[in-house]
């Protein structure tokens, strides 16, 4: 491992990129290593979801610059991302140690962060992503879910529909962004698409009964607030009005009987 690290850093150009996450709960969920990189970067960029985190970031590093203005109403998302990557890599190319902080986990449902890492490495710069706390991590903690118990499938809601993902209903299911099914551009107003929820419920009804319990979940954003946990049935979901950032948790159906042949091959059959 040490040899790999020495080899990785050898031959690298001056200038580096570290991408970190600030977690979901403002300030509190930023890891120690992430904060260190944010404080010490020669240039810090950020893309966060609420103003307290922004105010805190601006206090950490006077060079902090938001990338929110890369978005615009009706602007193609891919164009916004290309602009973000360009702005972040420009000082790297000038030889600076750059840090980019994004809310949540910087690599979960985020295209530009991975693209920035890819381009930086391709150009010969040191580029690293550090893990952060994602909304899914908060969901596991707040709902008392152990993803290892029955397994856990995780999809973005629109992707789940248009790709016609097949699932195992005896494993937990998490669907991200159920409040914006079908939305592909940046919008300033709140949005809600009833037809998307109806389509989703119809698809899920192929696997679960209509009275199957589900949970609409939003993680807490501040140290003094509670998560939003709305328990309802699958059928009730169709007429619900989840905010765009809502995550849907669908608990698993009862497990199937264990496969005796596999158990025998693994030597796990009881004596």
């Amino acid at each position: 491992m040490q040899t790999e690290q020495v080899e990785a850093s050898a031959g690298k150009k001056r200038g580096s990129l570290v991408i970190v996450g600030t977690g979901i709960r403002s300030v509190a969920q930023t890891t120690i290593e992430a904060r260190g990189h944010m404080e010490n970067a020669e240039k810090l960029y950020f893309l966060v979801a609420e103003p307290v985190t922004e105010a805190w970031i601006r206090k950490l590093n006077v060079t902090a610059e938001p990338l929110q203005d890369c978005y615009a109403e009706g602007k193609l998302r891919i164009e916004s991302y290309r602009e973000m990557v360009r702005r972040v890599l420009d000082p790297v190319r000038q030889g600076k140690n750059v840090c980019w902080a994004l809310y949540g986990h910087p690599g979960v449902f985020v295209y530009p962060s991975h693209e920035a890492i890819r381009q930086a490495r391709e150009e010969g710069f040191s580029a690293t992503m550090l893990p952060g706390v994602s909304a899914e991590d908060c969901l596991f903690a707040d709902l008392g879910v152990d993803p290892a118990l029955h397994g856990c499938q995780s999809y973005e809601a629109t992707d789940f529909l248009v790709q016609k993902r097949t699932i195992d209903p005896t494993s937990d299911l998490i669907l991200w962004q159920v409040g914006i099914i079908g939305e592909i551009t940046y919008k300033t107003a709140d949005f809600h698409k009833k037809e998307g929820l109806r389509l989703l419920v119809d698809l899920l009804r192929e696997y679960y009964p209509p009275d199957h319990p589900v949970v609409l979940y939003e993680a807490s954003q501040y140290a003094v607030t509670d998560p939003v946990i709305q328990r309802l049935t699958l059928e009730e979901l169709a007429s619900s009005n989840p905010p765009g950032i809502s995550t849907l948790y669908v608990p698993s159906l009862p497990s199937r009987p264990l496969d005796r042949e596999i158990l025998e091959q693994l030597g796990l059959m009881p004596a």
Partner: protein, 79 residues
């Protein structure tokens, strides 16, 4: 412009001991932080939206809600 609510929320996020102190005696901590009556009501409600509205009233600019889109679809046409 006062940033008392913003500063308190930062402090409670950074300092678990301060958060514990707030949980034991919220009125004392909020008064020491100089929060207005409306801000205290929002904080005590534990409602994220109420706190966001108070932050806006304090002068914080709330970035429009943005969500992470579905890159895997590689759809380039605007809606």
């Amino acid at each position: 412009m006062s940033n008392n609510l913003t500063d308190l929320l930062i402090q409670l996020g950074e300092d678990p001991a301060k958060l514990q102190e707030f949980q034991k005696n919220p009125d004392f901590v909020m008064e020491a932080a100089g929060l207005s009556e409306a801000q205290r009501t929002a904080v005590i409600s534990r409602d994220g939206q109420a706190i966001v509205q108070s932050l806006i009233a304090e002068g914080q600019i709330l970035a429009p809600v943005w969500v992470r889109p579905l890159e895997v679809l590689q759809i380039n046409a605007p809606a």
